[in-house]
């Protein structure tokens, strides 16, 4: 099992970052996400928005890794649950793969909150737990996947929202 975590600060207020985060796919930095659907969405009795989404991704695992895993499948499905609390200003996303589960479990959690010292900034904390099951090269593959996640997260967490943030302040009718 491998655990990876990171923290990033955006130079924008929470509302702005959340609007961009809800719309971050597609993006050229992470072309592996090829499909996104909302399965369920509702507001709970505390006024928080719950969304369940299905993401389809092309993992882009190297051929060697796929050979080790014994699968030629490249399309993987991920289920994501997000909760947006507009009053408490917290957005939390949890996702996990729902295919390839015999071989690997990748769970990620992202939390966006206002910076405690500066409401004009937003903190994103991300963590991922990766477990490769039942094969002797598990440790190596976990490292590989952690590096992929880390690299994607660095791109996603920073450059992607920077791409969307300049546009997010335009009126929606112009987007």
């Amino acid at each position: 099992m491998r655990v990876w975590s990171s923290e990033h600060v955006f130079g924008h207020p929470w509302d702005t970052v959340i609007k961009a985060a809800m719309r971050k796919y597609p993006n050229p930095m992470n072309p592996s996400v090829v499909g996104v659907d909302v399965l369920e969405r509702s507001v709970d009795s505390r006024g928080r928005l719950h969304s369940h989404r299905l993401l389809s991704t092309e993992w882009g695992l190297p051929g060697l890794v796929r050979a080790i895993l014994g699968t030629s499948r490249t399309l993987t499905y991920i289920r994501e649950h997000s909760i947006v609390d507009p009053v408490g200003k917290k957005m939390e996303l949890c996702s996990t793969n729902i295919t390839l589960t015999n071989w690997v479990s990748v769970s990620e959690r992202l939390v966006y909150t206002p910076h405690p010292e500066d409401p004009g900034r937003t903190v994103l904390t991300q963590e991922a737990v990766i477990t490769v099951k039942g094969i002797s090269l598990g440790s190596y593959l976990e490292s590989l996947m952690a590096n992929t996640i880390s690299s994607n997260a660095k791109k996603m967490g920073k450059e992607i929202l920077q791409i969307y943030l300049p546009n997010i302040t335009k009126p929606l009718t112009q987007q």
């Binding site: 509302d15 959340i18 609007k19 809800m22 719309r23 971050k24 796919y25 597609p26 993006n27 050229p28 996400v33 090829v34 499909g35 996104v36 659907d37 909302v38 399965l39 369920e40 969405r41 509702s42 507001v43 709970d44 009795s45 505390r46 006024g47 928080r48 928005l49 719950h50 369940h52 299905l54 389809s56 499905y77 289920r79 649950h81 947006v84 507009p86 009053v87 729902i98 295919t99 450059e159 791409i163 969307y164 300049p166 546009n167 929606l172 987007q175």
Partner: protein, 87 residues
Amino acid sequence: MTSESAATADAMNSVGEACTDMKREYDQCFNRWFAEKFLKGDCSGDPCTDLFKRYQQCVQKAIKEKEIPIEGLEFMGHGKEKPESSS
């Protein structure tokens, strides 16, 4: 990266190819409601319910056809005052 690529933020595909147009229409409605109402504390009616229903029917069909293992979700769609607990 150009602004054009950012402007296509709503141009993501659905996992069911036939559902993509419905998805994009729903996404635009949702994103507008989310930014202009929900985040500003406006709890008035959700204008996207009908769009979501149509889109959902299509997605459910695609999930069954592709045998995507979704468990524990009731496709109740778009609603308010649901219990906090979720699958």
